[in-house]
Symmetry: C2
Subunit: 337 residues, 2 copies
């Protein structure tokens, strides 16, 4: 059983896994090749028996669960950071606070094909992944133990992916994560002062100034954030104010799929094989219709390493100004030197 | 000129460097070998002309600055994240806040020898590095533009080091970094409630319980923190309450050098060649004698990658419980499986 432990000074929670306690010799410092073909890949069609039983799948009529015939499959993570069964049992230990590592950790297998990325596939494939995100989030947020559900994607080894087959993940947590809490508090302060959503204001300024603007349609807008932490960082925001990803509608799903394809493919075009993470930030389980919060998606290319200064300060150093990054991504200027 | 830009939602500052604007083709995804011998290494004795002119050196009598004869040398970073000349010029741009990238970015070359790490050298070498840290911090904190000085070390490529020759760095910033601000606020809240320093309470509980305790003498104590983010993370705290690293005395410098050697060498013994960062957290320039804050040193081994979940939440997943990590580091139990 993992434990959730709280830092007594800054209140950051850490999942300390005791199940998978590793020995020093487990940390191999050399790169280990992970050449998995579709015979041994647990996420490929035909290998359903290698994963834990599926939670949800989009599959052809008259095919059985945990057998071929699916195009998206959701399974529990084989090595979950948090476990679904049990009670939280919040408690103290001297000055420390902890609780049991209760939560959910699922893998969304985005396609049966062992391709590089789904964004090279047709738009419908991406739309269905978004529908699955929504469905799993709605389901898990009904569990009163879970205050938050984070959907994220790690692509490439340098971004933390341990398997190459296209997949995303979700983790449901019994506390609202610190980063989300900070966004909500920051946005609330702004709203209290201005009576406007800070994300809407950012979106309006970006659309108007065009300096960092990437793409837009009637439902979504993307841009490189003014204070980008990483080179080629991208933000995707719904144009209509909404704090809750669960409320995304059909037209918006289509737009978001188009936008994700546009953003990720453009990034891949200028930096082939780029490792990246993306995350969806939405309001906590029991909070909907917040006037001051706005759900969004953050794409973080992993091109530079995070060193002592960043860990020590929370400051970031970015050597590609977002104004230039936007130009490169839109290929508005020659990108080869 | 770099710019300091503030995230409008959570208030995080980012250094956006415009001087070193990179092109997409600058991000090489393959590992590039960095085989530098002492002929081409800019930090080796005899190559003083390759670095910018020195700010400070500990050197033999009758040798000239920027020539051989030194045992520690401080030089400006050749590619500084922030520049020392100029005014801050705090300003707004629509809803955004920014200022000029004014600060200092220095490199502390810890030894003239092209060795792997100074912690394998005699204790005196480490003591002198600590004295240099203190001297530079005192000097830079006199500059009214700088609210904070962060001292840090990146060891190994995976920890962000671009050169192998033993060195540390410091960055002086015109704002107190978010991570430090959070610690100060958290510690102040605790003090307001309990009238005690939270770091002193942590130290007392760790010494008493021994579960995560590493080493101690009359001046310093080290342990694996209760809510360790990383496998084999270590905290080093002065035993006597002090918020300000600048006030370290001679006996404490000796103790800290001994403790650093002990911690880093033990880590290297169980995981040879381990990449790591360490940082010193102290009170801001214009705040000394804080009852509620306690300076400390954090050692962060870089053995696992930070992925989407960590970026998205501020949560960390640690697969080595600190209680086990402490046993491994003290070699109290057989560490090979």
């Amino acid at each position: 059983m993992a434990e959730l432990r709280k830092d007594p000074v800054i209140g950051r929670w850490v999942i300390v896994s005791t199940d998978r306690g590793r020995r020093p010799s487990d940390f191999v410092l050399e790169e280990t090749p992970r050449v998995l073909d579709s015979k041994s890949c647990p996420f490929c069609e035909g290998n359903e028996a290698i994963t834990p039983p599926e939670i949800l799948s989009y599959r052809k009529c008259e095919t059985c669960s945990n057998s071929p015939g699916w195009w998206i499959r959701v399974v529990p993570n084989k090595f979950p950071a948090l476990r679904i069964e049990g009670e939280l049992n919040k408690r103290g230990k001297g000055i420390y606070d902890l609780m049991n590592g209760i939560g959910a950790h699922e893998v969304i297998i985005e396609t049966p094909q062992h391709v590089d990325d789904i964004f090279s596939l047709e738009q419908k494939a991406v739309e269905d992944v978004i529908w699955v995100y929504r469905e799993r989030m709605i389901d898990l947020m009904k569990d009163v133990r879970f205050e938050y559900v984070l959907i994220f994607k790690n692509k490439g080894r340098d971004a933390g992916a341990s398997l190459d087959h296209p997949h995303s993940q979700l983790i449901a947590t019994p506390i609202v994560p610190k980063r989300v809490e900070e966004e909500i508090e920051g946005a609330k302060k702004y709203f209290d002062f201005k009576q406007r959503c800070v994300f809407c204001d950012v979106k309006n300024q970006e659309v108007e100034s065009k300096e960092r603007l990437l793409w837009q349609d009637e439902n979504f807008v993307s841009f490189c954030p003014f204070a980008s932490r990483f080179p080629y960082e991208m933000s995707i925001l719904p144009k209509n104010h909404s704090s809750d990803f669960r409320k995304i509608n059909e037209a918006e799903v289509k737009s978001l799929a188009w936008m994700l394809k546009k953003c990720i493919n453009s990034l891949n075009e200028i930096i082939p094989g780029v490792p990246y993470n993306y995350i969806i930030h939405t309001s906590p389980s029991n909070k909907s219709n917040l006037k001051y919060y706005h759900w969004h998606l953050e794409v973080m290319p992993r091109l530079t390493s995070i060193a002592g200064f960043e860990w020590g300060t929370g400051f970031y150093i970015n050597y590609v100004p977002p104004e230039e990054a936007a130009k490169h991504l839109k290929q508005e200027e020659k990108i080869n030197p």
